[in-house]
């Protein structure tokens, strides 16, 4: 069939598809064009095209500044700790939920643990702030009741990562457990029956059947999480950090927001954002490559 004929036949479909096409061109590919300003001194009045080319000036400025090392370290640290501490939690939760034989209890606990997935980041952060407040916060009341000094958690750099990671685990464990629960539900029940006939206790069949059967899912999830490690929840950082904790809390995205939108250094911020995007893309592609090599399924 000739292309023209094909177009004519699909004209209704093409018309339906048109808004989608326009959307992707403007809002997904358009910003790539806007990245040109990372190589220019962007001036609002002269526009993207009219502004002066400056080559790699902004990149060189960024790489040679102290901020670069700091941001890289912070982004990786937050991502790494979230991964190391947060990753096993939903798996353990799913496994123990599966071992719970009281149906209604299992359902209610599962429902309760993924409730935070419905709360906004603003609410979660305000709860964190509320609980850690030195005067009215419950945690500090507890600390005071035990006879210790109150801790000003949110202005102390040494506490930031702990707060970030633990609130993240609280908010996401139930939601992420869904995937593992589904994977467990997919295990062939005859395996368990056979194990029982062979005299396996429940702990043993957990060890020899459930966990090995979960391994492929765990592996893929782990690799994908590693791949997106750098894309940490900057909204949460934005809401929880203070100037005194910038040294440990500032990550690429929050820095881009501050430099670009608050201080209006569009070009410099765009250069930083572009670097972040390149690192993130490289990590994701690598992770996907490893995932496919390891015999799991990749993203595509």
């Amino acid at each position: 069939m000739g292309t023209l004929k094909h177009i004519k036949r699909d004209r209704q479909l093409l018309l339906l598809f048109l808004p989608c096409l326009v959307f992707y061109i403007i809002f997904r590919y358009g910003p790539l064009y806007g990245l040109i300003i990372a190589f220019k001194d962007y001036n609002v009045f002269e526009g993207i095209m009219g502004s002066k080319w400056v080559g790699l000036k902004h990149f060189i400025k960024f790489f040679s500044s102290n901020d670069f090392v700091l941001l890289f370290k912070n982004t990786l640290a937050l991502g790494f700790f979230t991964l190391i501490f947060g990753f096993p939690v939903p798996i353990l939760l799913a496994i123990s939920l599966n071992e719970l034989r009281v149906k209604w209890l299992k359902k209610s606990i599962q429902t309760l643990t993924y409730l935070p997935a419905f709360l906004s980041v603003v609410i979660i952060c305000s709860m964190v702030i509320d609980f850690l407040s030195p005067s009215t916060g419950l945690i500090n009341k507890l600390i005071a009741a035990l006879g210790f000094e109150k801790i000003y958690f949110l202005i102390m750099p040494e506490w930031f990562r702990t707060i970030y990671v633990s609130s993240d685990i609280w908010a996401t464990m139930g939601y992420e457990a869904i995937i593992y629960l589904a994977a467990i539900a997919g295990i062939n029940p005859t395996l368990y029956e056979a194990a029982r006939v062979d005299g396996c206790s429940r702990l043993k069949s957990l060890w020899h059947i459930t966990i090995p059967s979960l391994m492929p899912t765990i592996l893929v999830m782990f690799i994908l999480k590693t791949g997106s490690m750098i894309r940490i929840g900057y909204e949460k950082v934005l809401l929880l950090y203070t100037p005194t904790t910038y040294e440990v809390a500032d990550v690429f995205s929050t820095y881009v927001y501050r430099k670009g939108l608050i201080e209006s250094n569009y070009s410099y911020a765009a250069a930083v954002g572009m670097f972040e995007a390149l690192v993130a893309m490289t990590m994701l592609l690598t992770a996907n490559f490893i995932s496919r090599k390891a015999g799991g399924k990749g993203l595509w």
Binding site: Y24, E99, F118, L119, I123, S133, A270, M274
Partner: protein, 287 residues
């Protein structure tokens, strides 16, 4: 027999542990709620630790008198309703052609769409596009730049693909146009999938704070989340005093605000959780 008792012990410990985890998850939420309806004296003296002490709704009355909250509430309802409608409409009309195996240049369209999942140029270029189109300070800035989420598009596309092609063929023989097939046959048949992805879009709009924060300057247009941030996190004056923001405004009032913003979501949550779980599963299958 020894094996039996071991199993039971394991079961009991496991059950207790899980109950503790569930309690830890809901405890902050119950606590916030209790503070918001307890009487002022008990709150100030710090007597409330779990359940409310004495009941009064003054905090709620005060919040509702603060004109920012009701207005922000209405803004959020409007942005969420309108935004989700646009999302579902655009995702549906895009997913349908892409689900047709013989749709012209389908391979290239799909490649172009999937590619965008890896290209994320960041905040600044997106901001410049929205500003350049003159969308700043309009509802469109919150709706149009994220009108289609690629993952949800792919989910819906596979859903349409899996629907029997015979349904479509029968309709074609009856002389139905593509529009009729989509709007009168496929969309009514794909309610479960639309509910799942619609829920994600809904939550995205309801909880969105970063985009409204950067795209809206007019404070009368602020949605709930931005007002909440101003009230709860950057306290009223606008200065950052995270250290002890809670002491500056009455705790009960703050918590009443939080509860009010959570109510709609908590109300729909028991009814939508099966779609929610389904959505998570569909999403993970594709990615």
């Amino acid at each position: 027999m020894v094996g039996e008792s071991k199993v039971n012990l394991f079961g009991i410990i496991n059950g207790l542990l899980l109950c503790c985890i569930a309690l830890m998850t809901v405890y902050p939420i119950i606590y916030i709620f209790s503070i918001s309806i307890s009487d002022t004296a008990s709150v100030v003296q710090g007597k409330v630790t779990l359940f409310p002490k004495g009941i009064n709704f003054d905090a709620y009355m005060e919040v509702l008198k603060d004109e920012r909250i009701p207005r922000a509430y209405l803004n959020t309802i409007f942005y969420t309703g309108f935004g989700t409608f646009i999302n579902l409409l655009l995702t549906s009309i895009a997913a349908y052609p892409l689900s047709r195996p013989d749709f012209i240049w389908r391979k290239y369209w799909m490649f172009g769409i999937v590619l965008t999942m890896f290209l994320n140029p960041g905040i600044i270029p997106n901001y410049l596009i929205v500003q350049g189109l003159g969308l700043t300070d309009t509802v469109w800035a919150l709706v149009i730049p994220n009108a289609i989420w690629t993952m949800e598009l792919i989910i819906l596309k596979s859903f349409y693909e899996n629907m029997s092609s015979q349904v479509r063929e029968a309709a074609v023989i009856d002389g139905a146009s593509e529009y009729r097939i989509l709007f009168q046959i496929l969309i009514p048949l794909s309610k479960p999938a639309l509910a799942s992805i619609g829920l994600f879009y809904f939550m995205g709009h309801w909880n969105s704070f970063f985009l409204p924060m950067i795209y809206l300057n007019d404070s009368s247009m602020y949605p709930l989340q931005v007002v909440l941030r101003d009230m709860l996190i950057f306290d009223e004056g606008g200065g950052k005093s995270l250290v002890d923001a809670a002491a500056l405004a009455p705790q009960a009032k703050k918590n009443a605000t939080i509860v009010l913003s959570m109510i709609p979501v908590l109300m729909i949550y028991p009814f939508v959780q099966k779609y929610f779980a389904k959505g998570v599963m569909l999403g993970s299958e594709k990615g």
